[in-house]
């Protein structure tokens, strides 16, 4: 099981890098830091079914850090929400569907919120979690955030609401890759002590290695949060994880690989050309 999830993550890393190389889509570092989190959610934890993407009882996963959409698109395609071919053959100049951020749910199955402007997805997720409670649905809501995104005040408004209403059907996973667009996140604003912040807002908070799939699964299993509080997972990650010359190098926030770099990346992932 774990081996197969790790193999899925490896396959997705390859597809993400290939897509970035061929389409010149940026935010590769951000995609590679959160891909293991997305694999855990979509291929193990979350109750989502590509054959019934609008099932009202489904779990909902929101990529609040919407600029990692290229990773999400690959995950949704592999999961079967739409054909892989429609993604890799999509038009990037004259009216295609797959841009640099997720489109709205009514335009692409599997998407729960059109994110990209930071600080919107998680508060929308709070609304969905509260809706589940009002409607008596036993479904969970997961929001994947960036550490840079936590600059936004709306994240903390939402955190306060979820904490005070003890929305234990809501989980936030922060892809804490220590970078934002132009600098170290700890140098831009006072993000630390990060775990204490979430705890202080009334969340059941854990830290984990965001590339350690078994540890994340253990924390995210539905019966693991008995606190009655919303769950916050601070996932320590490496931006550009998996490709040594991209790892922790923030140039890969915007850069896309050239042919040589693409070949090197494939080799590192253990793929032939």
């Amino acid at each position: 099981m774990i081996n197969s999830l790790e193999e899925t993550a490896r396959k997705l890393r390859r597809r993400i890098i290939e897509y970035s190389y061929k389409t010149k889509t940026p935010h590769l570092g951000s995609c590679l830091s959160c891909i293991d989190i997305l694999v855990v959610l979509y291929f193990d934890i979350a109750n989502v079914n590509p054959n019934s993407p609008n099932d009202p009882d489904r779990d909902k996963v929101i990529l609040s850090k919407g600029h990692a959409a290229p990773a999400l698109f690959q995950v949704l395609a592999l999961k079967g929400f739409f054909p892989y071919e429609s993604l890799i053959n999509s038009d990037h100049v004259n009216g295609g569907l797959f841009g640099e951020h997720p489109p709205t749910p009514s335009h692409l199955p599997g998407i729960e919120a059109a994110t990209g402007s930071l600080g919107h997805g998680m508060p929308m997720g709070v609304g969905m979690a509260l809706a589940n409670r009002i409607q008596g649905r036993d479904a969970r809501v997961f929001a994947v955030l960036g550490d840079g995104e936590c600059n936004e005040g709306s994240i903390w408004e939402a955190a306060m609401f979820a904490g005070s209403h003890r929305l234990d059907n809501l989980t936030v996973i922060v892809d804490f890759n220590k970078w934002q667009a132009t600098d170290r996140s700890s140098d831009v604003l006072a993000i630390n002590p990060f775990k204490d912040k979430w705890s202080a807002f009334g969340w059941n908070t854990f830290e984990v290695d965001g590339h350690d799939i078994p540890s994340m699964i253990k924390l995210l299993q539905s019966d693991s949060n008995k606190s009655g509080q919303p769950l916050a997972i601070i996932a320590h990650t490496v931006k550009g994880k998996g490709i040594d010359f991209m790892e922790d190098d923030n140039n890969w926030h915007y850069r896309t690989p050239n042919a040589v770099e693409f070949a090197m990346a494939l080799e590192q992932l253990g793929y032939d050309q």
Binding site: S106, A131, I134, E157
Partner: protein, 312 residues
Amino acid sequence: MRTAFADEITKLGAEDSRVVLLSGDIGNRMFDDFKDKNSNRFYNCGIAEANMMSMASGMALSGLRPVTYTITPFTTTRCLEQIRVGVCYHNAPVIIVGTGSGLSYSSLGPTHHSLEDIAILRALPGIVVFAPGDKAELRSGLRAALKQNKPVYIRLGKKNEPQVYSDEFNHSLRLGKATTVIEGNDICFIGTGNILPEVMQAASTLKATGISVQVESFHTIKPLDIEKLSKLFSRFDNVVVVEEHSCIGGLNSAIAEWIISQRVMPRARLLSIATDDRFLHEIGDHAFARRYFGIDAKSIELRAIEALSEQT
């Protein structure tokens, strides 16, 4: 208007289990009845309007019909991006209710005035912009808003405004269709929102002097009733548009946009009564603020007389 809102939303909440009321730490006593009847469908979201609006969009996407409620600038411009992205981009059926619109909270100063909200919100794709002129229009329009499967912005006045229609409870309007309040022949007044009673008063004073005024309530600014505009602008020489809103971007601007899109310039001249492009730095009551900006009944009346005399 706001007590009528509390009463009507309480009825709607009882009829429709999808209705959820979100308040930005305001009007709590007013909603006691709603809370008694639907304790799990009222949330005081605190003084955190951005989160309130995003939550509303998430709830709407989950099949509920959330209604956000707080003072107009805080539920509109304060959280504009949440309305633009969460609500409008997703076409989420959220009802956004602003209370104390225009200069209603005159003495609270420009932080609590809203003279730009119509301009800003009507620029967002897909949203309905509705400004009821009294309780009757509000009650009917709120019911109609709940039947729309799209975002609706409702711009309320304050409480104890004069009634325009005698029957508060059985009035019937259609969103996007203007209402002829008074038939007349000499000049046409188009009013929107909480200034409508002033428009009515001006029309009444003019009638006593022998001037016959037609009064139209353009309670819906978007979508604009262009069929009605075509009729009015071909029938009258002067159409006076009155709004408790900036001269920039409101109903007058919306009608001007329609006029310049016409192949043939319509017969009527468009006259605007709206607030100047400035903040009010003097403190006073609502009537003072309206006089200050020249949008009160007397100013409307004088403007009409002036327009008619220019014509002859």
